[in-house]
């Protein structure tokens, strides 16, 4: 469809993976689209379509090229290899095996391109140097791995010419938990078999697109869709009139978005219309034919503009006076007294940046309605349940009338933590047309959809005693929220609540204001709300340490959180080996020798951080039911329903277990660690565990992959469900073995007596007997966070968690003092994640976090023009680090045991992001002699600061010392309150596996 006068179809022969395909193509068709849509070789991924991300890399005559930059019709006579062509007769190529075993695969979306580029390299040069590997893979962006494991996989590929592979990181004490087994989905991802939402195709399927506003603030006077409707191939066009009069969002108290704008648009990109057509090309053209007449309204683009007297108001609601969406006023301890006790007070302001998750897989949705009116939605999401819940809310359907399917997800980082306009528009278009509708964001759409990190404007004041003891901390933050609430209420609270978890802060004041601006809404991004304040705090602490003459490691040790402590804002910290992370990072990096001894241009810096291991409360209060039909319940400081739920069913022959759990696998490895824990608790090999996460019909709800909750909460549910199976099985075995069930234990597929190894039977045999006698062997489990989490003040729920992670990173880098350019050399990271379930995957999370956060510190920023449009909505100018930018990363895990976690485990994925930004900025300050306090710390800003410093020095004006010394009032020794509930043991005393 959409054939213009100048369109020519021609029949060509394409030779792909050794097979010849006769295919009819138009001259304007791109090889990538022909491979995916006509040959159904969906292992070739679509990431940016402009030759930057490399997800679409294929080999043409043995050399990697971006298939998005090549016309299909000119490829006759060439040999094309896609990822599907690497496997020969069922045997993987050694480079595929190496990627699988070395942990080089996470979300898997960059994997096909990476593997093909690597394959071409080792064909040319079987022993490539590090630089050669980096050059060869420089065209593929990876958002998950930090490239460390990918480098290792390419270097070690020869090892996988034969089969045997060991796992050097393994903990000895458990059979499965603690072992660095390869990800369960790695082989599918290494071969192109793994299917992501956009890879699905259904008969009769239509393609949809959304039209976004071209003005930052305006009234829709008229929408003329007639030309779009008249375009051949267009099946349906919808506007605000066609969508429910029901607002949606994330925080129930502030649902403020319509599926399509009804009257007002509030940012460039705000959704105004959607189209379904027979193919993507026609849908794209149709969107361009929709004419929207706007009455442009004045707009505001910064919090300062937005809160000014007389500023245009984005939302006409008394609750949002002065465009303030959320305000937080928290006071803990006695802030005035705290500053009176200080000997040294230092104030500084910091500015964050607009960063964007930019997962490699663009958001995608496919909706279809079954006969009888049941909605089935395939979606690329981190939170299948919240999508389920929100569809029910918008369409006023019981949850049972909706099924959400989550295929493989190519990374999220918070950007896929909410229901998207794609989910909702696809559902509406599918209902209106009676056909399945697929909608996929372009890379540009992703930036316009937004939901990235809030840019925060921070004013901090810190008081310390001469010895570095913190006496008071005062924080005032304006968060640039964009046009809608999204996660923003929570963000504003997190920005304050997580500050006292790392250090003992006896007196703390936080003022947080999230402000509406005419830009895409900001949401939750890795470390939700905390990375920028954490960056600022770590910088300020380092400034203070240097100014009062205390080593930055020592000032942290002095104030570091201890295990079993209730913080000043009433968060219960159980396991906490923060001090051990400080000691390990300092030791392993050679901190003491380096800190004051590096030449100009070289720097070493430190930062610390940590995060919740699962939010203590669900996003909505009350029961799991359609939100519009229930009344808000009073907050009772306890979970209304279990946040994670699992069912373990044993196959009837006893040889396998199926684990049903709605947890979201988004690349972080949830399926693998949950399966490991299931196997461990059942006492069977992990190969016998099969996990089903993707279907809300068959798996009980799990709230999803946000707030770093899956390992701890999902894990606890899995352990409970598995334990219930074992509980039912042991009496059967006891009967067979003629002993008491209480002496029996399960291990590696056997049920044996703890007292006598000769009393033992096959696990599967016992399971068969159980089935024969009793029917299905099923265990169920659930996890509710502990009751009573948090204090009794407004907003106390945010920041609560069963457990908290801690970590320290030390960054070494070089600054080119003539240009300001930063070259990252090395990170030495140490993390307290409790007991690691899969150490290699823990390292993978840390490595990915280091590179993402280092990129946020140095180069990432969504830039807006004076009309509120994004200048760089692409991966060419929104700078995600490449393999050539990535530093060497030495990751360490300290011994720790979390009593609330399964096998003592807690989170790592978000917490490991938090130390990085401060460490990078500190290292730059040490290398260049200047602090840059607004993110990103670009070469230009560094050079400007250097020039200002030289100017001051030439004129003989010394840099003013920003801190103030005073005679501090004597202070009482700080006595932290103890935690409520379980207490963490000293990890040295824990004997795992018993």
């Amino acid at each position: 469809m959409g054939d213009g006068a100048g369109t020519v179809h021609r029949s060509i022969e394409l030779r792909v993976n050794g097979r010849t395909y006769n295919v009819s193509v138009k001259d304007n068709e791109i090889l990538l689209d022909v491979l995916r849509d006509k040959l159904h070789l969906t292992g070739t991924k679509k990431g940016c379509e402009l030759g930057v991300c490399g997800a679409c890399t294929v080999l043409i005559d043995g050399e990697p090229v971006n298939s998005c930059l090549v016309l299909a019709s000119s490829q006759e006579g060439h040999d094309i290899t896609t990822i599907e062509g690497l496997e020969q007769d069922g045997t993987l190529h050694p480079i595929q095996k190496s990627f699988i075993n070395e942990g080089a695969i996470q979300c898997g979306y960059c994997t096909p391109g990476m593997i093909l580029s690597a394959r071409a390299l080792i064909d040319r040069n079987p022993d490539p140097s590090d630089d050669e590997i980096k050059t060869a893979l420089s065209g593929s962006l990876c958002r998950c791995t930090g490239y460390t494991a990918i480098m290792r996989a390419v270097k070690n590929w020869k090892k996988y010419s034969d089969e045997t592979v060991g796992h050097p990181d393994d903990l000895e004490s458990y059979a499965t938990v603690g072992r660095s087994i390869p990800r369960l989905d790695a082989a599918d991802k290494a071969t192109g078999r793994a299917r992501y939402t956009a890879d699905y195709h259904f008969p009769g399927m239509l393609c949809g697109r959304i039209l976004g506003s071209t003005v930052a603030h305006g009234k829709i006077k008229d929408i003329d869709t007639s030309k779009a409707c008249a375009l051949p191939g267009v099946v349906c066009v919808i506007t605000g009139e066609d969508v429910p009069d029901i607002k949606y969002g994330v925080s129930p108290a502030r649902y403020d978005e319509y599926v399509l704008a009804k009257e007002l648009v509030r940012y460039v990109g705000d959704e105004v219309a959607a189209v379904a057509a027979v193919d993507e090309e026609t849908a794209e053209r149709a969107i361009e034919l929709i004419e929207v007449d706007y009455e442009e309204l004045p707009a505001v683009f910064t919090p300062r503009e937005a809160i000014a007297e007389g500023a245009p108001q984005l939302h006409d609601h008394p609750r949002f006076k002065n465009n303030i969406n959320t305000s937080v006023e928290h006071d803990f301890g006695d802030i005035e007294r705290g500053f009176e006790e200080a000997d040294y007070i230092r104030e500084e302001s910091f500015t964050g940046n607009h960063t964007h998750q930019s997962p490699m897989e663009p958001h995608a949705s496919i909706a279809q309605w079954e006969q009888g009116g049941r909605l089935i939605l395939y979606t690329s999401t981190q939170v299948p349940h919240y999508v389920h819940y929100m569809l029910a809310h918008v369409f006023q359907l019981p949850l049972g009338e909706i099924k959400v399917m989550s295929p493989a997800v190519g990374g999220g980082f918070g950007g896929k933590a909410e229901t998207t306009p794609l989910d909702l528009c696809a559902s509406i278009l599918a209902r209106k047309t009676g056909r399945p509708v697929k909608m996929v964001y372009s890379r540009k759409d992703m930036f316009h959809h937004g939901r990235g990190r809030h840019k925060q404007h921070m004013q901090f004041r810190l008081g310390v005693k001469k010895d570095g003891t913190i006496t008071a901390f005062d924080s005032k933050i304006y968060l640039d929220g964009g046009a809608y609430t999204s996660f923003g209420v929570v963000t504003a609270y997190y920005a304050g609540s997580m500050m006292p978890t790392l250090y003992h802060i006896p007196n703390y004041r936080y003022r947080g204001y999230r402000v509406f601006t005419n830009k895409p809404a900001c949401g939750a991004m890795r470390g939700h709300g905390v990375p920028q304040p954490r960056f600022a705090f770590e910088c300020l602490l380092n400034m203070v340490a240097d100014e009062i003459g205390i080593d930055p490691v020592s000032i942290r040790m002095k104030n570091a959180m201890d295990r079993n402590t209730r913080t000043v804002n009433d968060l219960d910290i159980r396991s906490c080996e923060f001090k051990a992370t400080l000691e390990a990072a300092a030791r392993d990096s050679g901190w003491d020798e380096k800190y004051r001894n590096l030449p100009p241009g070289k720097g070493i810096g430190i930062g610390s951080g940590g995060f919740v291991s699962g939010a203590g409360y669900a996003i909505y209060r009350g029961e799991v039911r359609m939100s519009h039909e229930k009344t808000q319940k009073t907050f009772m400081k306890k979970a209304v329903f279990p946040h994670a739920n699992a069912v373990v069913k044993i196959l009837e022959d006893g040889m396998a277990a199926v684990l049903f759990i709605g947890a979201a696998e988004i690349g972080q490895g949830a399926e693998t660690v949950l399966s490991q824990m299931c196997a461990e608790a059942l006492g069977i090999p992990v190969e016998r565990v099969h996990i089903r996460c993707e279907d809300t019909d068959i798996s009980p709800i799990d709230l999803g992959a946000y707030s770093s909750r899956v390992t701890l909460m999902g894990g606890n549910a899995v352990v409970m469900a598995s334990g219930q199976v074992v509980e039912q099985l042991l009496p059967i075995a006891a009967g067979e073995l003629g002993c008491d069930a209480s002496v029996l234990t399960v291990h590696d597929g056997r049920i044996s007596s703890k007292d006598d190894a000769n009393i033992s039977m096959d696990w599967a045999e016992a399971a068969r007997i159980y089935f024969n006698e009793n029917g299905p062997l099923v265990g169920t489990g659930f996890y509710k966070p502990p009751e009573g989490l948090g204090g009794d003040y407004k907003g106390a729920a945010v920041g609560t968690s069963p457990a908290y992670s801690f970590g320290t990173t030390i960054c070494e880098l070089a600054v080119d003092l003539d240009t300001g350019k930063v070259t990252l050399d090395k990170f030495t990271d140490s993390h307290d994640c409790g007991t690691p379930i899969n150490p290699k995957m823990v390292h993978g999370q840390v490595e990915g976090a280091v590179v993402m956060a280092a990129g946020e510190t140095l180069m990432e920023d969504v830039v807006f023009d004076e009309k509120g449009d994004i200048v760089n909505p692409n991966l060419h100018e929104y700078l995600v680090m490449t393999i050539k930018d990535a530093p060497e990363i030495m990751g360490g895990i300290v011994d720790s045991y979390e009593p609330e976690g399964p096998f003592g485990a807690k989170e790592v994925g978000e917490g490991s992001t938090l130390p990085v930004m401060g460490a990078v900025a500190h290292a730059i300050a040490r290398a260049a002699g200047v602090w840059v306090t607004d993110l990103p710390v670009t070469p230009e800003k560094i050079l400007r600061a250097l020039k200002e410093k030289h100017y001051r020095e030439e004129r003989g004006t010394r840099e003013e010392t920003r801190g103030t010394w005073q005679e501090g009032r004597p202070s009482k020794p700080f006595e932290p309150k103890p935690v409520v509930g379980k207490r963490a043991p000293d990890p040295k005393t824990v004997r795992r596996g018993e």
Partner: protein, 296 residues
């Protein structure tokens, strides 16, 4: 993100290609690697193009040949092909520096050397090298051809002296003389897949003796003016002098004044001017080292 409707022509001779351009201009464009034009078409940055005339089937355009005192690079030679070529490696290491700074490896398997010149974007990475190396473009109109020095080739952003119906078939580089060194220094915001914030190419030809003298010098700049430019005054100041840090720093200061940078997302005009000064000194130092170590 789809391309607009286009018709692809794959002529087998230059003459046929030029005829097609004659027939369909201005709605026809030449397609070599396509990494610029396809991206521009996808993004709607250029409109009104209905036909692409591919050079792919024209013989003789996909090789690098040594012809007496020159090296000829065909219009279909890709960036990676050039950076592996024996003659390029031998005579023009500075070209390899420039090639390897561009885009990323897979794109360099598609993008062509000639395309980077012909596209005439203000941040062309190859232009400074071709200018300082004294390169020329061969433009063919089907019934005849002409040579244009690269330093005279650019008129403005994406504007060149190449006629709408002319095709750049080759780039020609004279082999460097004795004791001649060239270099290219690029500043970018990440290590791959990034455009130049500023780039400087330099050439120094020395009279070797107990005290070196600069016989000839050239400096060219990219991403700091509407088109790649030659920094004549900076280079002129060096000729006849002996190479020294002071002389290079002076040349850097002059080059800075010859740049006409703008402010955009990659950097402010002032920062770019700074970079020109720094990169000029670095490029001259590299060129000097290469000149002293036997040339090229």
């Amino acid at each position: 993100m789809r391309l607009p409707d286009i018709v692809l022509h794959e002529p087998e001779t230059i003459a046929e290609a030029c005829d097609l351009l004659n027939e369909y201009c201005p709605r026809a464009r030449v397609l070599a690697g396509g990494t610029d034009i396809l991206v521009d078409l996808k993004q709607g940055r250029i409109t009104g193009v209905e036909r692409l005339v591919s050079l792919k089937r024209i013989s003789g355009l996909d090789s690098i040949d040594e012809t007496g005192d020159a090296i000829r690079i065909g219009a279909l030679v890709t960036l990676n092909q050039a950076s592996r070529d024996r003659n390029i490696v031998k005579y023009f290491p500075a070209l390899i520096d420039a090639l390897e700074s561009m885009a990323a490896y897979p794109v360099r398997n598609i993008a062509t050397v000639a395309g980077n010149i012909a596209g005439a974007v203000p941040s062309s990475d190859l232009a400074p090298f071709f200018i300082v190396a004294g390169g020329e473009a061969v433009l063919s109109s089907g019934d005849g051809e002409r040579s244009v020095r690269i330093e005279d080739y650019f008129l403005g952003p994406r504007q060149t002296v190449c006629g709408e119906c002319e095709i750049m078939t080759h780039l020609v580089l004279p082999k460097p003389g004795p004791a001649t060194g060239m270099s290219y220094h690029k500043f970018m915001l990440r290590e791959a897949n990034a455009l130049a914030v500023a780039g400087v190419g330099a050439m120094l030809a020395l009279k070797v003796g107990p005290a070196d003298t600069i016989l000839e010098s050239r400096v060219a700049l990219t991403a700091v003016a509407p088109k790649p430019v030659i920094a004549r005054d900076a280079a002129a100041r060096l000729e006849g002098k002996s190479p020294s840090p002071e002389a290079f720093e002076e040349a850097g200061r002059i080059a800075r004044c010859e740049a006409k940078p703008i402010t955009d997302i990659r950097g402010t005009d002032e920062y770019r001017a700074n970079l020109v000064e720094v990169l000029t000194v670095r490029a001259l130092n590299d060129a000097l080292e290469r000149a002293r170590s036997g040339g090229a």
